[in-house]
Amino acid sequence: MSSTTARPEVTFGSKSSGRAIRNTVATVLVWAAFLIALIPLGWIMWTVLTKGLHVLFTGTWWQKDQSGALPPGFDHNVRGARHALVGTLEMSVVTSVIAIPIAIMTAIYLVEYGRGKVARLVSFMVDILSGIPSIVAALFIYAIWVTTFGLKLIPVCASIALAMLMIPVVTRSTEEMLKLVPNELREASYALGVPKWKTITRVVLPTSLSGIVTGALLGFARVAGETAPLILLAAYTQYLNENIFSGNMAALPTMISTEFSNIGDAVSSERLWGAACTLILLVLVINLLGRLVGRLAKVKK
């Protein structure tokens, strides 16, 4: 952008050396800041891949859970992470099922319906919700589910807490996308006598679909990597549990935090880095997929 702003060819008088030096120093610092910021990303990826990638190629990693695992120090098999992967995916999918409809309807309200004080309040609350720490969301669900109603925790509790974190992410991105839909489309639809709700569902939403999908995938990637709510609400188990409404359910983040306490043990360490590698690859793939969807759609427009 800025590169298009033409720098004047003729300068009045010459730049003093002090100004020129300051300009150079600023340029160098700005470049350096960017390059330094890449170090953590590279270092993290390098650490996780070198320590964890080979675990993913052991035969049992994707097929077995940790059933039969002995206490740390006595076990010589890495076994698998199927239970954690299934748990992560299941909880994240249920989270999406809860969060995405609410988020999209809220965004529709804010863009298509909301005017005045109520809309400002809703918009403000979406901001506040996006700022609520994940541990507070988990504590809130715990305060309702356990201390108020005295119920036993089930994995879906974690999904509800995660939904509180996902709703604002998807709401904001959907809102941005709906604002981009040209008004001519709405006007044309109204002129044909199409009611407002059908205009929204048949014209506005399909036009902005790819952007909404992008937002949803980014939200999915964010909750899949969340740990704090799981620690409070979904206790880790070494066994595969496919029922989200009962028992304990493992997830990749809780598998990591569980194995972290035995990081000195070689086998636990293998499992730990294997799970970390699986998690980071899962999150990055979904994240990149989301951005790809957004990119492809933009080209079409």
Partner: protein
């Protein structure tokens, strides 16, 4: 632009230069379908208002019984005993939370501003997009991986630097060496890792405001013979300052509430450890304390102590986020 960080500067991005969507309030025909759909949209919006309100109400309602049984001063005590008789206070948690987050902010903001400037003003056109993508990718790394990497890989390498700092700057209370803490797992180090974690969000939001600097301002500066840096200093930075401040507040909110990474990195303190202002000390933040003691939750009165800590954290983040929001709103009123 759907920012990967999950927050956008909502009112500020003028919907890509397009006119605002129709004020088609009367386009609703009053038919059943319209009433149901409109009602569902309004209902979803109100549901969010209700959720946030309920968070405050439930945390408050469950914290009060525990607070009334608290034998220590909740605000000034450093002890944390949740068995009967309960004596818990948040002084140490509050200090650790705020200190680590402020350290994070001090490191993150200059870097974020410089990177945002790089992405919007300095980077060659072919590099700007992929570079922004790389910075956003940092936001996608799960916080538990940050905790693992920071606590297990980086902390041992940090320890010598910390020893050097406490040797040379130890006369300042903030950098005093602490007895019993030898490794790198300190408040200061947690601040550094938190800085990396909140860097992408501050960068993304600053980038958005910098990109909106009116071209006329920039060309005006250049036409007066300004160097590129002078143009940035006189046109881009003043224009973006409110946006950067509110982005920093949002980053601060993230840092205050970060849980698992802090919990994995910071070394704990024994109960009743001596108070020190040193940043080279262990401890626990609100969030890490709640998470690390989660297994002891019994659902009874003792849980109320943790809920009280959660309530303070909620209020803290609420205030920080509200300030960020107010700054954005005010800027909208004045900038146009």
């Amino acid at each position: 632009m759907s920012s990967i960080t999950g927050v956008a500067l909502p009112e500020e991005t003028p919907s890509g230069g397009q006119p605002k969507p129709l004020d088609a309030d009367r386009a609703s025909t009053g038919r059943l379908g319209d009433r149901i759909f409109g009602g569902a949209a309004l209902g979803s919006g109100l549901l969010i208002v209700v959720i946030v309100t309920l968070v405050a109400i439930f945390l408050l309602a469950q914290a009060v019984p525990a607070l009334s049984k608290d034998h220590a001063n909740f605000l000034t005590s450093t002890s944390w005993v949740t068995s009967q008789p309960m004596a818990f206070g948040i002084a140490q948690l509050l200090w650790t939370t705020v200190a680590s987050s402020v350290v994070a902010l001090l490191f993150a903001v200059p870097f974020a501003v410089a990177i945002a400037l790089f992405l919007t003003q300095y980077a060659p056109a072919w590099l700007a997009r992929p570079a922004a993508g790389l910075i956003d990718l940092l936001a996608a790394v799960p916080s538990i991986v940050f905790g693992l990497w920071g606590g297990f890989i980086v902390a041992p390498k940090w320890a010598p630097i910390q020893h050097f700092l406490s040797d040379t700057l130890g006369w300042i209370p903030l950098f005093k060496p602490t007895a019993g803490i030898t490794g790198g797992n300190t408040i200061f180090f947690v601040g550094i890792i938190l800085a990396i974690m909140i860097l992408p969000i501050i960068t993304a939001l600053s980038r958005e405001v910098f990109a909106q600097t009116p071209t006329t301002h920039k060309e005006g500066a250049l036409a007066l013979g300004a160097t590129k840096w002078e143009m940035v200093r006189t046109a881009v930075l003043p224009f973006g300052r409110p946006g950067v401040i509110s982005a920093s507040m949002l980053g601060l909110g993230r840092a205050l509430g970060e849980t698992i990474a802090v919990m994995m990195i910071i070394s704990g303190l024994p109960n009743g450890a001596k108070w020190t202002w040193s940043l080279f000390n262990g401890g626990a933040t609100f969030a890490s304390k709640i998470a690390s003691d989660a297994s002891e939750f019994s659902g009874g009165l003792s849980t109320g102590a943790y809920i009280a800590a959660g309530l303070v954290l909620f209020i803290l983040t609420f205030v920080v986020n509200a300030i960020a929001r107010i700054i954005i709103e005010r800027r909208k009123d004045f900038s146009e």
